[in-house]
């Protein structure tokens, strides 16, 4: 349900729904002798909420870090497909792409790129242990999400009035829409460090959304929350998906939470992919049941 008319699309991808957006191709990651990921292949489809689940230490965060460029896998390749925007759909501040035909699909290999270049391609993320700019306000954190869409020149940005000012106002519009969507109005001008944990998690989601991501990576957005907060967060993620049509890759430790909101689920255990399919298929998979029951017993003892 659309509660108000949003002027800006928060979705940064222009691929048609149903096409492969992200391809993880035989990725292996080692830390010294420890194999964190072995031969992982996953395809994320445009328009999906794709959950990656698994017990603690299964390699979920490592995989996410490989996608966003914080880790570089020794083997395999991760590719992101992007399409050129049609005129009116172009993101705020994005230069009009002249010359290139609308809808042209390009494939980028993420595996060798530094994190900031991957972010500029439209991959936004949140972290398991909140990584916000604690000394800044909520608004400043969200405006930083607009960084990649702002003009480049150092000198132009020093003259904060005139064109730079207009640009800022335009970005502020989009940021306010994100604030609306995630109901952060009341804390807009509060320093982030002083906010409650659950709200910080929401601000982090908002900051990632402000990038107008082609792909949103969420690392345990519900970790450390009680049942009610988890439900709220699930609601926000669904809003982001349904209202803003952003493709989401979601890591979750708790299997039950994600089954309801995901279109597709991949299960990792000890760095291997043990199942990949719709939530129902995955739920019925004997390997998944075994991995999870094992993990449950362990955590019961701990």
């Amino acid at each position: 349900m659309l509660t108000r008319a949003y002027q800006h699309s928060l979705r940064g991808s222009h691929l048609p729904a149903g096409q492969p957006l992200l391809e993880v191709d035989n990725v292996s990651l080692r830390f010294g002798g420890v194999k964190a990921l072995s031969d992982i292949s996953i395809t994320v489809t445009e328009g999906d909420v794709h959950a990656i689940i698994g017990p603690n230490g299964a390699g979920k965060s490592s995989l996410l870090n490989c996608i966003s460029g914080l880790y570089h896998p020794q083997e395999g390749e991760i590719r992101l497909r992007t399409a050129v925007a049609a005129g009116p759909e172009a993101a705020v501040g994005e230069a009009e792409d002249s010359g290139r035909p609308t809808g042209e699909v390009r494939t980028h290999t993420l595996t060798k790129l530094p994190p900031y270049k991957i972010a500029r391609l439209g991959v936004a993320r949140s972290f398991q242990n909140i990584e916000l700019f604690a000394h800044m306000t909520v608004l400043e954190n969200l405006m930083l999400g607009r960084h990649i869409h702002m003009k480049k020149s150092v000198l132009a940005s020093m003259l904060w009035f005139g064109p730079a000012r207009n640009q800022e106002i335009e970005h502020r519009h989009l940021v306010e829409e994100v604030i609306d969507l995630l109901q952060l109005q009341a804390v807009r001008n509060k320093p982030v460090g002083a906010l409650a944990y659950g709200i910080q998690k929401r601000v982090e989601l908002g900051r990632a959304l402000c990038l107008q991501p082609a792909l949103l990576l969420l690392d345990e957005p519900m970790a450390g929350m009680n049942a009610e907060e988890k439900e709220d967060m699930a609601r926000y993620i669904l809003d982001v998906h349904e209202l803003a049509h952003v493709s989401v890759v979601l890591i979750e430790h708790d299997m039950n939470v994600v089954m309801d909101i995901s279109d597709r689920v991949s299960v990792l255990d000890f760095g291997r992919l043990i199942a990949d399919g719709t939530p129902d298929e995955v739920k019925a998979d004997p390997a998944v049941i075994e991995a999870y029951l094992g993990a449950e017993e362990e955590s019961d003892r701990g």
């Binding site: 900031y116 972010a119 990584e131 702002m150």
Partner: protein, 290 residues
Amino acid sequence: MSNFINQLAYGLADGSILALAALGFVLIYKATGVINFAQGEFLLVGAYMFYTAFVVLQLPLVLAVVFGVVVATIIGVLVERLILRPMVGENPISIIMVTIGLSMFMKAVVQAFYGTTPKSQPAILPRSSVEFLGATIPLNRLLAIVIAAVVLTAFTIFFRRSRHGVAMRAVADDQQAAMTMGISVRRIFAMAWALAAVSALIAGVLLGDISAVDQNIAAFGLMVFPVVILGGLDSVPGTIVGGLTIGLLHQFTAAYWDAGLAGVVPYIALVLILLVRPYGIFGETRIERV
């Protein structure tokens, strides 16, 4: 009374130049975590670069300033790229040793090219003086305060408002998150060194004009340590308060007590502050979790 006002003007002028020098130091520490012991030598090199453009090459004042800023930027970026980037991830003591080595190198290069005798440079700021409450205050000191205030304000606005300034604060706050916002941390590091070199250049040129272009500029630059310890290693407003305080303390001690003692007083203050408030007045108290 007139003597007091005179000393006040001298102290504030020294203090605002110190604040500029300390600004560069804080910039580098905040953005990159490096404690730069070569900050005084950046002042020295800045002053000599300007001298080269203005006196040796006979460039007009504006062009000489532009020349100085360009060269300072290049030196800042090169130092970051060639000397400090390979040190990323090394332990802090090694990095400090490298910046101490850098300070000796820079001083030696300046001596090799220009010798150790003071250089005379035509006055940039007017040498006349103004009467104020019975005191005769040299105009160049007042203008030095004004210039330093303008530069410090410009830097503050840059950090608060501009896209790159905000990106620098973001890197200082959380490097990993900054990277995933599409900010190139390497570019920010280079920018921090370049801006630090430029602020040191301005401080060096002002100092050269109100005193002389010689090796003492580096010694003056060493006083950034009491300044940043007082203001807080990572605080931009702290540099202003710290700079003015140390400048006044130095000047008043020289005027009313003992000129020899004045050279030591800032460092006595440094030790006292470390005993009482190790994070400085505005510094962020870091709680280490082990």
